[in-house]
């Protein structure tokens, strides 16, 4: 272990983390700044968090964002899990390669393009832009992330468990809910959380597909910052960071747990 801690390693770790986290730490610190001026420290205060509660525009935006994040990730989880099942289970159907390629494309597609193409679609079908269009757009772009997470679990899933359930008289649909789903649930939950944070963070796609009355929090922050950074914005961002951090940590703990439990079971099974 000691061998790994050379001065080179230490420097690169420090530099790497500094690069990643100094801006964020600065933002968190200044959210507790008593001064109205963002860059001048004038003592510790939580006043900006309290004034947030009176900023109706920000509260509204936060509420819209949370609703969109919740419902879009719920829908994306259902669709993504179904896509993952189709991709791992039905081995050789026509156009399988095309389908699996297409489900991963949004992962690497620039958000601007996703946003623009969705906007064009909504305009073409004359869909009133607002809450529902953002929701649909978020389902579209988070679904593939869920599919990837669930698929990686399904690849190692022992299908004889499903065969055993069928053999004991359980029809396929019930088998999914009684056997398959409980066992892949950790992956499904972490897929949901991933989709939730992605939707919460999104600015680009939301700004393309939104309409009047459906301004999300990232959009609100962005538009306010153009008029100058206020400590209030720092406070909002700090809360956002806290939420995302908590969700990501929970998701990774859930997957880790499930993974180590599975490993332990497999080890036990080999004895």
């Amino acid at each position: 272990m000691r061998k790994g801690l050379t001065w080179f390693n230490v420097t690169s770790i420090v530099l790497g983390f500094a690069f990643l986290y100094i801006p964020i730490i600065l933002l968190v610190i200044y959210s507790f700044n008593a001064s109205r001026l963002v860059t001048v420290w004038a003592g510790f205060s939580t006043q900006w968090y309290w004034s947030l509660l009176e900023n109706e525009q920000l509260i509204d935006a936060a509420w819209v964002t949370l609703r969109i994040a919740f419902f879009s990730s719920l829908a994306a989880t259902v669709l993504g899990t179904m896509a993952a099942l189709a991709l791992t289970r039905y081995g050789r159907f026509g156009g399988r390669t095309l389908f699996s390629g297409m489900i991963y494309a949004p992962l690497v597609m620039p958000e601007v393009i996703t946003g623009l193409s969705l906007l064009l679609l909504f305009v073409a079908v004359n869909f009133d832009r607002g809450f529902w269009t953002v929701l649909l757009a978020h389902i579209t772009f988070t679904m593939c992330f869920v599919a990837v997470v669930v698929q990686s679990r399904l690849v190692t899933f022992d299908r004889t468990l499903e065969e055993a359930a069928l053999d004991l008289g359980c029809p396929p649909f019930q088998t999914f809910f009684k056997i398959t789903l409980p066992l892949i649930l950790p992956a499904v939950v972490s897929g949901f959380m991933l989709a939730f944070t992605l939707s919460l963070d999104d600015l680009v796609i939301a700004s393309f597909t939104t309409g009047p009355g459906a301004t999300t929090l990232p959009m609100r922050i962005y538009s306010q910052v153009r008029l100058g950074v206020t400590p209030e914005i720092n406070a909002v961002c700090t809360i956002l960071i806290a939420i995302v951090t908590v969700v990501v940590i929970i998701a990774s703990i859930v997957t880790k747990r499930a993974e180590s439990q599975r490993e332990a079971e497999e080890r036990a099974a080999l004895q």
């Binding site: 055993a164 069928l166 008289g169 359980c170």
Partner: protein, 392 residues
């Protein structure tokens, strides 16, 4: 104590009586429980099961034996409903199984990997199939208790599968597949994951269980000893085809082909030419030995035809002294190798032509120094009724 022993004795007698006379496949009035009729299964270009016709009778313990990839598992999976035959018919108790999904078939399977549901405890695993049948709760509890007693796991009901040993898991899997009282129990390499001692014990337990429950068991295995031990009849498969279907003793003593003779146990194959057929007795000569050969087995090939004498190593006798002049069925050779197994010794005898015979002899005395040693000149003989003639 006396009562238990009397009950044990009574049970032994009834089981013994059934075992001695049980041969429904010889009785033309019996209707088979399971019928495979010209069943073919192809996966793409690969033919896994090729035109198999097979009848299995009620209360039979039937083994499908063969090397891996011979189609035995596919045959079983077709009965369970996980595969549909490409052509041919499959009936169970007179009912055509075509298009019947696995969850509507009155058969249950014990999986090689046991396939216990990891998120359910032992009792819930066993109750799973019963709950599917909408059995009343009290009946389910009673049946689960009964099954746990049957496999002696009463105190493990609340454990999860990963808290059990391999042997215990095997028992849970067995209990779960028996809980619904299926018409046929399918066992896919059920003892493959157990160590040798436990496997042998479990084989005898399986036989007793099958007798006392009066169920039909179909076991798939690649372990010939296992098949010979447990089964009433064995079907040996190779490349998707049934090579021979017969009781274990018949498979061993009267193999139908060289493949069977070689696959089941050890065998010496001596290529010979028929000189005379005298009813049940066949006389032959071979390039392997100058001695004339006589085998008490009728031969399909007439005089001048080729035949192969198959003799098991334990049916050959080995001696340091030459037999009296004019004795038939003699091979002269030299000890090339000896394998001492404790109960048996295996001698590899090299004949003048270079062919090696395997001879096994029980070690009847406690002497450590064996009378026969490396490079000794020996004579190997056999009785006419020890060999079988094979033409295929």
């Amino acid at each position: 104590m006396g009562e238990v022993m009397a009950a044990d004795k009574a049970r032994k007698e009834t089981i013994g009586a059934v075992r001695r006379t049980f041969a429904p496949w010889k009785d033309p009035t019996q209707t088979p429980l399971i019928r495979f009729e010209n069943v073919v299964k192809r996966f793409g270009d690969f033919t896994a099961v090729n035109n198999v016709s097979l009848d299995i009778y009620e209360r039979e313990f039937f083994a499908l034996l063969g090397p891996s990839g011979c189609g035995k598992t596919t045959l079983m999976r077709m009965l369970a409903g996980f595969e549909e035959p490409t052509s041919g018919r499959l009936t169970l108790a007179g009912e055509d199984l075509a298009g019947v999904p696995p969850y509507r078939r009155p058969v249950n399977m014990m999986f090689q990997s046991y396939a216990l549901f990891p998120h359910m405890n032992v009792a819930d695993n066993i109750a799973f199939g019963l709950k599917q049948d909408k059995m009343p709760k009290a009946d389910i509890d009673a049946r689960v208790t009964e099954m746990l007693e049957l496999v002696k796991l009463e105190q493990f009901a609340k454990r999860k599968p990963h808290q059990l040993s391999g042997g215990q898991r095997q028992r849970v899997a067995l209990a779960r597949s028996l809980a619904k009282r299926p018409k046929v129990l399918l066992l896919d390499e059920p003892l493959g994951a157990l160590d040798k001692k436990l496997r042998e014990e479990t084989q005898f337990e399986l036989m007793d269980l099958q007798m006392s429950l009066g169920m039909t068991f179909l076991i798939v295995t690649h372990d010939q000893e296992e098949a010979m031990t447990v089964a009433d009849r064995i079907a040996v498969m190779n490349h998707g085809v049934l090579v021979q279907v017969a009781p274990p003793a018949e498979i061993y003593e009267q193999p139908a082909t060289r493949y069977i003779a070689d696959f089941i146990g050890e065998v010496n194959l001596i290529e010979s030419t028929v000189t005379a057929c005298e009813g049940e007795t066949t006389r032959l000569t071979s390039e392997v030995t100058p001695s004339p050969l006589t085998v008490a087995h009728p031969c399909e090939a007439g005089p001048g035809g080729k035949a192969c004498i198959a003799i098991r190593p334990e049916k050959l006798r080995i001696s340091l002294d030459p037999p009296p002049e004019g004795t038939e069925n003699v091979f002269a050779g030299e000890i090339w190798d000896i394998g001492y197994l404790g109960d048996l010794s295996i001698y590899h005898v090299e004949l003048a032509c270079g062919q090696r015979l395997k001879v096994s002899q029980p070690n009847l005395s406690r002497r450590v120094a064996r009378p026969i040693s490396w490079e000794d000149k020996v004579w190997v003989t056999f009785d006419p009724d020890a060999g079988v003639l094979l033409t295929r």
